[in-house]
Point group: D2
C-alpha cells in the first residue's frame, strides 16, 4: 500500500545531485509527486525537498537511501506524512496568536496535532477549552529555573515535538532553548534584525519607520537572533499612535507565526549556519 513521505536532503553541492536523488528514490520504490531544490552557490550547499509516495515504511525508505547518503555525505530526513507532529503552545495573556493557530488548524491548514497550551497566566484557559485543547497554568513564582523545569516536565508529559511560543512573554534561558534546537518557534513583534529586544513598537515609532513587521524565528541562546523562518510587514501611516502600531502589529504577528509553522510542518525549512533556506 502506498504511503506518503516528505524528504529533506542537504549536502555539499556538486553536479548531478538531482538525478542521483531521483534515481535513488526510484530505486527505493518511491514516486516523486513534487520536488523543489536549490543550490546556494554562496555556500556550496545543495538542498532538496520532495513529496513522494512509496509502498514501504519510513525505515525501509531510509535504508534504500542510505548508500546514496553515505556516498555523497548527504543528510537525508524522511518524514511520513501520516505522522502528524505533536505541537505544544506556550502563551501568556494575549490570545490573538493562539486563536489564529486554532482557526487555521480547524481549517485543515496545519498538518499537526496540538497537544496543549501551557501559560504563565490563566487568561487563555477559555480559549483553549473552546478548541478542546488541554490548558495548564504554570505560574511564574519568581524562580526562572523552577518555572522552566515545570514547562519542560509538561512538554515531556505531552510528548511534544515542536513548541510554538505564541506571544509567551518570558525570555527563556539558553539551557531551555538548547533542549529544542530548530523546534522552538518564536514570534517577534518587529522586523528583525531591527528592533530586537523589548518594546519594538515603541522603538519603531521613535524612528518613524513607515512599516511595522513581525518575524518568526527559531529561538536560540542569543535573544531574537535565531534563524528567521518567516517575516512580513504592514505599511503604517505616520499618523499612527504607538497603540495603533501595536494593533496593526498583532495582525501581522499571528499571520507570520502561522505561516512559519506551516513551513516547518511541511518540512520546507532548512537551517544552515545561522540562517534558513525555505524551499517552496
Amino acid at each position: 500500500m502506498q504511503q506518503g513521505f516528505l524528504i529533506q536532503v542537504e549536502c555539499p553541492d556538486k553536479p548531478g545531485l538531482v538525478a542521483a536523488v531521483a534515481e535513488a528514490l526510484a530505486g527505493a520504490g518511491a514516486n516523486i509527486l513534487d520536488l523543489a531544490q536549490h543550490s546556494a552557490t554562496e555556500r556550496s550547499l545543495f538542498l532538496l525537498w520532495a513529496r513522494v509516495e512509496a509502498p514501504v515504511d519510513a525505515a525501509a525508505l531510509e535504508r534504500g537511501l542510505a548508500p546514496l547518503a553515505q556516498r555523497l555525505a548527504m543528510r537525508v530526513r524522511v518524514h511520513p506524512s501520516s505522522r502528524r507532529p505533536r505541537v505544544a503552545v506556550l502563551a501568556s495573556r494575549t490570545g490573538h496568536c493562539l486563536y489564529e493557530l486554532m482557526l487555521k488548524h480547524a481549517d485543515g491548514h496545519l498538518a499537526c496535532d496540538f497537544v496543549g497550551v501551557a501559560s504563565n497566566h490563566p487568561d487563555l484557559e477559555a480559549a483553549a477549552r473552546h478548541f478542546d485543547l488541554p490548558f495548564v497554568h504554570l505560574p511564574h513564582a519568581g524562580d526562572q529555573a523552577a518555572h522552566e523545569a515545570a514547562l519542560q516536565a509538561q512538554l515531556r508529559a505531552w510528548d511534544a515535538e515542536i513548541v510554538v511560543l505564541a506571544r509567551y512573554m518570558r525570555v527563556l534561558s539558553p539551557a531551555f532553548t538548547a533542549q529544542w534546537p530548530e523546534r522552538l518557534l518564536n514570534i517577534h513583534h518587529g522586523f528583525l534584525p531591527a528592533f530586537s529586544g523589548a518594546r519594538p513598537y515603541h522603538q519603531a515609532w521613535d524612528k518613524g519607520v513607515k512599516m511595522v513587521g513581525a518575524t518568526a524565528h527559531f529561538a536560540t541562546a542569543e535573544l531574537d537572533a535565531g534563524p528567521i523562518v518567516a517575516q512580513d510587514v504592514l505599511r503604517v501611516s505616520d499618523r499612527s499612535s504607538v497603540e495603533e502600531l501595536v494593533e496593526r502589529g498583532k495582525d501581522i504577528e499571528r499571520r507570520v507565526l502561522v505561516e512559519a509553522l506551516r513551513l516547518v510542518l511541511e518540512r520546507r525549512v532548512f537551517v544552515h549556519q545561522g540562517r534558513t533556506f525555505v524551499l517552496e
Copy 2:
C-alpha cells in the same frame, strides 16, 4: 565543452515523471543545475522546467530526449542559453515601458537582444537611439491592414522572435496576433479580467476600486483575454484623481511588463487551455 540549456517539459500527469525526466537527462549527458515542476491535478497536467548543462549541442540533447518524449506523449523544448532571443518592441508615444525595458536590459536582467523599436509615432526616436537601438517610424495612415503589413515586414527584417507591445496604442487584428502565438507580449493597464478594453483607469475610478493593477498577457484574437503572464497591483487612495491613477498605473505597468518578459525569456511560462502556469 559544457553548454547551458533551459528545458521545458509538458505532458499528461502520471507517477514517476520527475525521475523519468531526470534519468533521461542524465542518460543524454546533462547535469541538472536547477529544476522546478508542478502537477496541476485540476487538468492532469505535468509541467517541468530545468536548467541543465551538457557537453553536446541542442540537437543532440533533443535526440537524447526523443524516446522519452515519444513514450510519454511529452512536449519537450530545449533552449540553448547561449542563444539570446531577438526581441522587437512596438510602442506609440509614452516611453515609460520602453525605458524600463532598456534599463533592465542594460543591467543584465533580461537575457535577450533587443533588435529595434517600431512605432506609429515619432516621439520615442531619441529614447531608442540613446540605447543604440534602431527606431523605425511606421505611421498609421488609416489603413489597418497596410499598417500591420508594414509592421510584419519590419519584424521579419529584424528576424524578431518575440514582440513586446510597450504601450502600443493600436488594437492588432486577429490575423496579426495569429502570426505570433505565445510570442506577442502585451501590457494592459488594468487588473484583467476586470477593466478590459478602453480607459481602464476611468473605469476603475468610477467603481471606486482601492487598488490599480496592470496585467501582462499574450495577445490573442480576443482583445485583452489572452493568457496572463504577470500582474500586480498598487494600493491607491480614494483621494486620487484619474490622472493620479494613470501616473501610479504607469509605475506598475512597466514593472509588470519587464517581469513578464523575464519569465518568458527564462522559459518559465507554460500556456495551457487559455491560462499560463509560471514555474518559479
Copy 3:
C-alpha cells in the same frame, strides 16, 4: 462636560468650505481634534470628516450647524462617539469571518456592540456563544420571502443598525437590500468587479490570475455591484490548487471585512453615485 462626535459633511464643491465648516464648528462650541477632507474635482464634490469634542449634545450641535448646512446645500451628519452602533451578523457555515469580527472587537478595534448572529445553519452556534453573543438559527425552508421576513423580524428585535454578511451564502432579494441602504456590508470572495457571482476562486484559477482578492461592499439590488468599501489582494503561486486559492482567500476575506466595518464605524465612508470615498 465635553462629548466626542464624528462629523460627516458632503456638498457641491466650492472655495472656502474648510474654513466655513471650521468656523461653524467653532461657533457651535466644538473643538476639532482631527480633520480630513477631499475635493473630488471629477464630480465637483466636497467631502469632510472630522472628529470633534463639544460641551453639548448631538441635537444642539446639529442645530448649531444647520444654518451653514442650509446655506451651502450641505448634508451634515453628527454621530456621538458614545453611541456605539448595534451590529448584527448574518452567517452560514464557515466561521472565519465571524471569529475575526469577534477577536478584533475583543481587542477594542471595532467601536460597536454586536447584538447577535443569525444563520441559516446551526454550525456556528458554539462560536457565537464563546463570545457571549446570541445565536439564532433561521433555517431556509425553501421559501426565500419567508426566510427574509424571519431575518428582518430578528434584526428588528435586535434593533440592529448595521448588518454584516459574514459569508452568508444566500443571495438577498432587492426588497431586502432596499431596507438597509449603506448599512448592509457584504464580503465578496473575489477582486470585484472581476469574478462577480458564483465560484470566484474557480473563475480565478481558470484565468490563471496571479493574485486573489476580496472585496467588502454595500449590498444593493444588483448582485456584487454595490459600492466598494475595502479590498485587498494576496499574491498566489501558479502551483496553487483551487483549494489553496480558497484557503488563501479566506485570510484576505476576513481581513478586508473587518477593515471595512472599522471604516464604516469610524464614519469615514461616503457613498456617491455608485462608489465610495473613504477619507483617512
Copy 4:
C-alpha cells in the same frame, strides 16, 4: 490674481488649532483647497499641511499669519507653488536612480527643476545629457575635504536648494551634511535601522531575511541614522543569490527615492526629534 501656496504649520498641541489656522488663512484672504493635520499625542505636537490659493504674494500671506504664529508659538512656512525648488543630483556609477528621477520628472510627477548632476565618476554623463542636464565630473583624488569643497562650490554655482544622493558612493562628512539640514536626501539600500553601513545586501543574505528594503532619509552627521522619509520592501525568495538581492534592491531603491523626493517637494515632510511625520 490667485496664487497657489503650500503651508506647513508646526506647534505644541492644544484644542482649537485647526479652526484657528483656518480662520487666520481666511482672514489673510486664502482659500483652503486641501488640508491634512495630525496631533501626535506622544509628543504633544500639532502638525498641519494645507494647499491654498490667495490673491497675494508669499510675503503678504506670511505677514497675515504672523500674529497667529506668534500667539501660539507656531512655526509657519509658506511655499509658493510657482517657485519650483532647484534640485541637484550627486551620483557615482550606477544610473538606475538618476534615470528614475529624470523619467518621473519628465512625466510631471516631480514639481522641481533639476539643475545638474555632479559625480565622482564620468560614467553617467551620457544619461544626464540625454535629459538635457548639465553633468560635472568631480573626481575624488583621495582628499575628502578637497572633494567636498568642490562639491559645495558646484552646488552653490547651481544655486541648489535640495540635493539628492542618487547612489552617491562616498560617505559625506558631518561638516558637509551640516550645510544641508533636511535638504540632503539619501537612499540607503537596506531596510533601516537594520543593515546600516556597508554591504547591506550581503548582511541581509547572511541573515536569511525574507524581504529586502530601501530607505530614503535625510543625511545627518551620523551615518544612515537620519530621519526616514520613505521606505518600502520587496519579498525575496530564499533561492535568491546576493546578486539577485542587489538587482531586486535597485528596483525598490529608485522607487523609494522618487517617492521621498515627491513628498519633500509637496512639503508634506515634517522633522521632529529625529523622526519625520509625513502628512498625506
